[in-house]
Every structure is written in structure tokens, then in C-alpha cells.
């Protein structure tokens, strides 16, 4: 399996980051970076990770199943992650979550039919003082109001 030049360069740097004989350390970052490019941790990605790090596919699988950001099926082009943990709960996060479910017609870890947007209710994302907060892919949105969420959904449907 070949990745883009940018990803290969990133992975090459990653592999040099750990002590000799400890290349397996690169596994979690490798899987996440590969997922960013491929769209999911596919069986091919699992095999490629195992081959590069000289471990078994089973050892890769047990790691994939542990980390909540790693997923086996593609998400939407825009992955909308709404936090409903304590600070967000207190400031309207649950209502934003319900609003997003209603507007998109999908639920937790589901993707809209056109593949544009996927939705996930997430645990604390580290934006508590600027709650309620959400992430679209890796971008943060702070102090989100219902109106702001509606505008955001309209934008994400079209880009």
C-alpha cells in the first residue's frame, strides 16, 4: 500500500522518533495519520501497519479497537463531534446534540446519505471554559449557539 508523499515523509520522520527496536511505538500515530488520508482504518491499512512495524495484524487490531478516534468505516467528509460532557451539558451541549440529530436525520456515529456529514456525541474535548463546544474534523468551535450550529450545518452541506 502506498501513501501520498506528504504522508510518507511524515511517517518516515515518525519512525525515526523512537529508540532502535521500538518502532512499534509509531503504531497509534501511524494509524491516525493513515486514517486521515485513506478515510478509515481499512483491512489494507491494518496489514500495512503490521508489515511496516513488524508486528502481527492481530496486534494492530487490538489497538484499533481500543482508541475511539480510530474507525473502520469512512465517516462523512465533515465529521461533526458535539461534546455533551459536564461543562457543555451545563451550557446547552445536549440541546445542540439533539438539534444536530434532528436537522441531519442521523444519530451517533452515522453519516448523511450524501456522505457529507457524520455525527458523533463525544466526551470532553478540552474546551470547557468556552462551552458548549464542538469539533468539525480537527477544528474547534467555541460557545456555539443554536443559530451558529444551523449556519454551520448549512455551510458543511455545501462544501
Amino acid at each position: 500500500m502506498t501513501f501520498s508523499h506528504q504522508l510518507e515523509a511524515k511517517l518516515a520522520k515518525l519512525m525515526r522518533s523512537y529508540p532502535a527496536g521500538r518502532e512499534r511505538s509509531a503504531l497509534v500515530p501511524l494509524l491516525l495519520f493513515a486514517q486521515d488520508e485513506v478515510g478509515a482504518v481499512t483491512p489494507e491499512v491494518v496489514e500495512e501497519a503490521a508489515r511496516r512495524l513488524k508486528i502481527t495484524t492481530l496486534e494492530v487490531e487490538e489497538v484499533v479497537s481500543y482508541y475511539s478516534m480510530l474507525h473502520r468505516r469512512p465517516l462523512g467528509k465533515h465529521h461533526l463531534q458535539i461534546c455533551t460532557n459536564i461543562s457543555c451539558l451545563l451550557t446547552g451541549g445536549s440541546e445542540l446534540w439533539e438539534q444536530a440529530c434532528r436537522r441531519l436525520g442521523v444519530g451517533h456515529k452515522e453519516v448523511t446519505a450524501d456522505g457529507q456529514i457524520s455525527l458523533e456525541e463525544v466526551e470532553c474535548i478540552g474546551a470547557c471554559s468556552w462551552a458548549p463546544a464542538l469539533q468539525v474534523n480537527y477544528d474547534f468551535y467555541h460557545q456555539v449557539t443554536p443559530e451558529r450550529l444551523d449556519r454551520l450545518l448549512a455551510e458543511l452541506r455545501n462544501v
Binding site: S68, L90, I125
Partner: protein
Amino acid sequence: MYNQPSPLETRILTRRFGLPRSAAIETYLAHEGYQAYEKARGMTPEAIIEEVKTSALRGRGGAGFPAGMKWSFVPRASSKPKYIVVNADESEPGTCKDRLLMENDPHQLIEGMLIAALAVDARAGYIYIRGEYRYLIEIMDRAIAEAYQHGFLGRGFDAYTHTGAGAYECGEESALLESLEGKRGIPRIRPPFPAVVGAFQCPTVLNNVETYCAVPWIILRGGGAFAELGTPKNGGTRLFCLSGHVNRPGVYELPLGFPLLKMIHEVGGGIRNGNRLKAVIPGGSSCPLLKAEEADLPMDYDSLAKARSMLGSGGVVIMDETTCMVKVALRIMRFYAHESCGWCIPCREGTNWLRKLLERFHDGMGRSSDIVLIGSLAKNMLGRTFCPLGDAAALPTISIVEKFAAEFEAHLEGRPCPFEEAGRLVMA
């Protein structure tokens, strides 16, 4: 920065925040940057550790262990390589400070790592950043590259970033080390502690981002000056993350010992809508809650311990009179049930049973015997797990059922949640 600073702050770690291009090495160098590292290069490792001990700097991740003491446990004579690991897996609900430290002043963290490396003779360091903080990996990688260009890194010490991929448990130090080695983040049996057997089975200093960030100032101005900012045995300032029902939520740097009520009413601008304070989580969701009448105390490790809670990670979550405490207990437990790594049965099963019991309660189908059951289930988790996640789930739950028993009674036998009946829980 995402909120206005407060005039009541004591800006030590955040003193460069707000400068133009504050993350750039030129800005850092123009404002005392790497001067502490140069000073530390002229000191013996013993003298560095002594200075950190004098500072009364305690771990800012949650446990509050004295940093200098932790460093002194590293066997410097060991022939094994030693490592510096930064816990930047910030994921304790209520906590959002390490993000700011890395975003606004990444070199301060690198300099803290460099000084720790001198103290224990480490040759490499890893910054373990939670996967959701991708933009911070880019910022830290840029800062690391700058530090190489200027010769701070690469002359005996190398630094790397490492990303997690979504797991609260990896903020626990031994699970973090497992994750760093490319495995599931499950805790290790301790002892041995990471200081002796840590990253790659080698001696390791493992501290929170904020802990390392305090070190350059301590070396530059002296441990005594840092200690004086706080209260005895509770040195310095820390970044308190105010969230929930206050008018001015935000991250504020305040000295240890700062009065909690003053923090809420003056720094945080008081309770929203003129409401009354009901409860406070003083240091992230793992800490026992304080009732309003218990909140008149200074925010330092020892005062919180005396109040049978914890200073934790600095996440101060403020709840007003409209808050349903059953709902709060349920949301907190849903989090721990989701994040339990499954390694220890009392935690794996206990969190899920507690979640189910609390769900039943919140749905109005609680039984009076459940109130006792929740308390006894939680108490049976205490001290029976390899890592603190089991306690972290049990402690806030025990505090809520004990301190707000009347609210649980109000949810009994099919009665709807009185807070939801009166309107929505949230009236933001």
C-alpha cells in the same frame, strides 16, 4: 486566548500570552526565553532538583505529587537511557489549560523539558498529545524545529511529539506509557513507578504540561519566589479553568490558595442570571463535589484534601440552583463507563452498573433502595483497581448521592425530574 484575562490574575506561566506571535521562538527569546535553560546548564543536577523541591511545585495533572520529589526518584546512575515524557493528553472533563500553554507558548514547555533532562540526564523526550488536539501537534512540531535551528535541541537532547487517538485512560501515566509504546492504553502494575521503569522500560520523568511550564520561571527566579506565590507546600500559581454557570467562564492564572468564592464571584463574574450557587466540582470530574456552603475555602491541594475533595486538574465546574444533580451524576458516570479501559473488573462492571442505575433514576424509575445501592456499589470500587479511574468514577458519585440525597428522593417511583418539569435543565 479565548477569554479576556482578569485583573485579579498573577501571570507567571501565561505572562507571554497575548504578545504578537507569542508562539514564535523570536518572541520567546525576547522575553526571557531559554535563559533558565542556560542558567540550569551551569547548575548541578542536584541543585536543579533542589530548586524545584524548594518551589513546592506539585503535579498539575491531578495527583498533586511534588515534582522535585518525583525527579529525585530517577536513578541517575542507571546505565539505561532516561526519558522525559510530557502528559499532554488533557482530557479530564472541565480542563482546558494545557491547550492554551502549548498554543500560546510552546517554547516554555520545551524549555521545561530541557531543564528536566539536565536534572536526570535524559537524552530524549516525548510530548504525548491527545489526538483531538491535532493543531497543537503542528504548533509543537514547529516550535521543536525552531529549537533545533537555534541549537537548544539536538545538543544532547531530542524532543518529539506523539499523538494519542481518543482515550481518556491514556492520561493516566502508566497507560500513557503503554500507548506510547504502540499498545492499548491499559495501566501497568506499580511499583515499579515510571521514575524507575517508565518509557521503553527505562527511568522516566513524567509530568503534566503545566508542571514543566512552571520550571523555567522557577530556575530563573528561584524556587523560593515560586513557593511564596502560593500557600505552604502549595507553591506557585495554576491555570484554573472556570466553566459552567458563571458569567465569565475562562482560564485564569491565579495563585494557589486563591479563595474559591472570590474565584467564582469576582474572577468569574458571579453566577449567571443572578442565580444561586448550588455545587462546584473543584478540579475536574474525578473530584468529589462541594456544596455551595462548603465552597468557602482556599484553592490549594491541602485545603481541598481537608474538605475531602481534590484540587485535581484545575477544572472548576460551577453549577447553579437549576441544575439537576441526578443528571450531573449520570453524565459523569456515562463518561467513566465509556472510558473505563476494561482491565480491572470493579471499574469495568461498576461504572456500567452505576450508569444503568443512574439512568433508571433519571428516567423516574428509581427505587429508594437504589440510593443505598449506588453508594455501596461505588464504595466497593474504591481502591480495587490498578489505576485511579475506578476511584475517579466512584468519588464524585458518592459525594453526589450523599450530599444531594433529597434530589434522588425527588426522582423516586415514576416522578419526573423536577428540574426538567420546571423547564429545561439548561437555560443558557
